[in-house]
């Protein structure tokens, strides 16, 4: 099987995000960078498929030079090779540009199934998987929490509001991964050593050959709206506090 896992490097979930004074983005100085947690599920699922059915896992990432660490992490987990799409022209890329860049590379690789995270936890757009599927003319299965490979198709579970769907889709297809799909493995020490020697093909914008103008632009980044300071409910007994809270929720907040 030829399996592709798309990965993105993002700030760690515990990262404090500070907006630049001019609103042009966020301060990157103090951030610890990690593989997008949803992409980890994709890499893990790719490795599980390979272990069961044989084949090769290729990781593809669009990102600045530091994103190479994330590709190496995936290689250390067990992926075979990487493609790093790296060019300042992609610095202000939106999901549309990223999806087209990934598609341009993936078109040149054999692919039976392509994994993406359901969204990246930095811009939270959740668009790349579906846009990639469209660019490749493939079906998409988004938010997948269970996947069974059935030869020429996959059967997946996809949760929706108040239900879950069991869907069968012909391969090749694009799958976006939701938490619950698997437990991503940690890279072993031998894995980390081996990863250093695995091939990573670095491509610039010219080599990818697509238009890099974003369709959706972040015109301004702003801090979240401030919440007015809250009230701490006073009282001697839990019952008293509960009664006062109930009254405030009813009369002041009109929330119940």
């Amino acid at each position: 099987m030829n399996i592709i896992a798309c990965v993105k490097q993002v700030p760690d979930t515990e990262a404090q995000i500070k907006v630049k004074a001019d609103g042009s983005g966020i301060e990157e100085g103090q951030i610890k960078w990690v593989m997008n947690p949803y992409d980890e599920f994709g890499v893990e699922e790719a490795l599980k498929l390979k272990e069961k059915n044989g084949g090769e896992v290729t990781v593809v990432s669009v990102g600045p030079a530091r994103a190479m660490e994330t590709i190496r992490t995936a290689l250390a987990m067990g992926a075979d090779k990487g493609v790093h799409i790296c060019d300042p022209a992609f610095d202000s890329a939106d999901a549309f540009v990223v999806a087209n860049a990934l598609a341009a590379v993936i078109k040149t690789l054999p692919h039976d199934i392509i994994f993406c995270g359901q969204r990246a936890i930095d811009d939270d757009s959740g668009q790349v998987g579906a846009m990639l599927a469209e660019a490749l003319g493939l079906p998409q299965l988004t938010l997948v929490t269970k996947l069974d490979f059935a030869g020429t198709s996959v059967k997946v579970i996809r949760p929706i509001e108040g239900a879950q769907l069991l869907i069968e889709t012909a391969l090749p297809c694009v799958v976006t991964c939701q938490k619950g799909l698997n437990e991503p493995r940690y890279a072993s020490l031998p894995g980390i050593m081996k990863a250093k020697k695995k091939p990573v093909d670095v491509k610039d914008a010219a080599a990818v050959g697509i238009a890099t103008d974003a369709k959706a632009k972040v015109a301004k980044t702003v801090p979240p709206p401030a919440r007015p300071p809250g009230k701490i409910i006073c009282g001697d007994e839990p019952a008293q506090k509960a009664a006062e809270l109930g009254r405030l929720l009813r009369e002041e907040a009109k929330a119940i």
Binding site: G126, L141, L166, A242
Partner: protein, 325 residues
């Protein structure tokens, strides 16, 4: 030239979902500022009657694609029809819901139309005639103002954030051809496994009672269930509680769980790690109950109770029972 505001209405089992009315109302507000028309795309089988309801909430014209191929929802089938109707009618703005279906559909449609999409917006506005979508990024740690250089400018709206207000318009039905080439559809829904708990999904709940590490174990959640029952709410959980196996993944609120915006969010025994705050800080009213007065959750709370939650919550349940009676 592109003109007007179009929405993609969402229905399930022959009923409009609430987000459809929120979309209609929001579209109406935008269109009234520029004196434009609001249109809607409504796809499904046997659903023409729902156009009336969209009219009630401000839609002038409803493009109805009534075809067995549109039921149940399959991405490629819906995306093909939506993209076709959009191209034929050339709206300036296209709004969808940031529901599970809306997120799946909006990105595919945006790619087909080669335009920009702002996902999960919490505000939209016209700024000097230009559409600006405001959305949380980094799970709400900051917000981005998104502008689109192509048409239509697309945005998906976070459920439960935009008000749905009646504003009667014609809701005139325009039938569209929603036939799709069956050979082009590679996916098939084999089974719909309905959640039989009868609880509203977290992303659609008006009231959420959430528990964290302070619940001490899965049994602790029973007092939250009782409070949620009285308030007609849904029980959620922090990542700590889910990782401990006390609640299911689908119940998790936070950066790697669900992002929610209920009218009332009651956080019980949740310290308020930044990744949890990111998932619930767009809630309208936040209550924190925690015995640690220094817990960061209190910085986001409108009302805080510093006490033992196992004593406060049963009392609060009793108080609420009387208030809602």
């Amino acid at each position: 030239m592109a003109k007007g505001v179009m929405i993609v209405a969402e229905q399930r089992d022959g009923a409009l979902r609430k987000i459809s009315l929120e979309l209609a109302s929001t579209a109406r507000k935008l269109a009234d500022q520029s004196g434009d028309e609001v249109s809607a795309i409504l796809l499904g089988s046997g659903i023409e009657g729902l156009a009336v309801e969209l009219g009630k909430y401000g839609v002038d014209k409803v493009f109805v694609g009534d075809n067995a191929a549109m039921e149940p929802y399959i991405t490629e089938a819906h995306a093909t029809v939506v993209a076709k109707v959009v191209k034929e009618n050339d709206p300036a703005i296209l709004l969808l819901g940031a529901s599970v279906q809306g997120k799946d559909l909006s990105a595919r449609v945006a790619a087909k139309l080669a335009t920009g999409l702002a996902t999960d917006c919490t505000d939209v506005k016209l700024d000097g005639g230009k559409f600006v979508a405001i959305r949380p990024m980094y799970a709400g740690k900051c917000f981005g103002e998104i502008v689109t250089s192509a048409t239509p400018a697309m945005a998906s709206l976070r459920p439960n954030v935009f008000p749905a207000a009646e504003n009667a318009k014609a809701g005139a039905v325009v039938k569209v051809d929603a036939a799709v080439d069956a050979a082009s559809i590679k996916s098939k829904i084999l089974e719909v496994q309905k959640d039989t708990s009868g609880k509203v999904d977290l992303t659609e709940a008006n009231v959420i009672v959430s528990g964290g590490r302070g619940m001490k174990g899965p049994e602790g959640f029973s007092i939250l269930e009782e409070l949620a029952e009285v308030l007609k709410g849904t029980v959620g959980a922090s990542r700590a509680a889910v990782d401990a196996g006390w609640k299911l993944q689908k119940d998790q609120v936070g950066q790697t769980g669900k992002v929610v915006s209920p009218n009332l969010y009651i956080a019980c025994g949740i310290s308020g790690a930044i990744q949890h705050l990111a998932g619930m800080s767009s809630s309208k009213c936040i209550v924190a109950i925690n015995k640690d007065a220094e817990a960061p959750i209190f910085t986001k709370a409108d009302y805080g109770v510093v006490d033992d939650l196992f004593k406060v919550i049963p009392e609060l349940t009793a108080v609420c029972k009387k208030l809602v009676a």
